[in-house]
Symmetry: C2
Subunit: 105 residues, 2 copies
DNA sequence: TTAATATTTCCATAACATTGGAAATATAGA
DNA sequence: TCTATATTTCCAATGTTATGGAAATATTAA
């Protein structure tokens, strides 16, 4: 992963509403959630939500598909995993006892 | 982890110089790297580097200790792991086949 | 104490991000 | 077609962040 891509992804997540949206989509899995449902659940006005979704989309963290009148957003798990790998790359000078975790769903 | 803590950590990482500093410290492990050595390796002027280190420190992502005239910075792996756990919490609607990775040092 | 080295604080400038109302666009169903 | 619903674009005001030179502060060794 290139530096600028990682910075853009982190910047996209470094905002309270966008982080809430992303985490909600992470928990929803591939099924995703419509823009309207996201706005309702999180109490974000349409214009603001649209702005934030565009930011997350541009950063490659979410995808969207259209179903009738709805636009369904879902998390891009591949990109999330790449970002985490980039952050933790070659960590702890190769000594696995220094850091910990193994993620499981 | 609380939202604001996560947002602050992500914002701290969402900047090219700070991300480079953090990744370098992640790779250095507990031994850490002095402020001056960081500046030399990354080509960041002292005032700018100090500003960025303060930001990373305030976000809880790095620690520092003084050794003689040197201030040695090191990554806070516990906080890094908490952040990753916060991002990936309850991911994929519980279906582990949707997302992937297992991190190893 | 003096000189050399290491790091931080101060500051002003410039660049970028967030907000939400109103209007525009798109789709579906009657 | 007409109406209701869903989402996006436009815009301007406000707030936040990044930069690096110069000066201040700390520590060590001679």
């Amino acid at each position: 992963m290139k530096v600028k891509v990682a910075v853009e992804a982190l910047a996209a997540l470094a905002q309270e509403s966008r982080l809430a949206v992303f985490r909600l989509l992470v928990q929803a899995g591939q099924a995703g959630v419509s823009a309207g449902a996201l706005g309702d659940k999180l109490g974000i006005p349409p214009a603001t939500l649209s702005f934030h979704l565009k930011t997350l989309f541009h950063a490659g963290l979410v995808q969207s598909r259209t179903e009738g009148r709805f636009v369904i957003y879902s998390a891009n798990f591949t990109e999330m995993d790449r970002l985490i790998a980039y952050l933790t790359e070659h960590c702890c000078a190769g000594d696995a006892t220094q850091c910990a975790p193994i993620r499981k769903c």
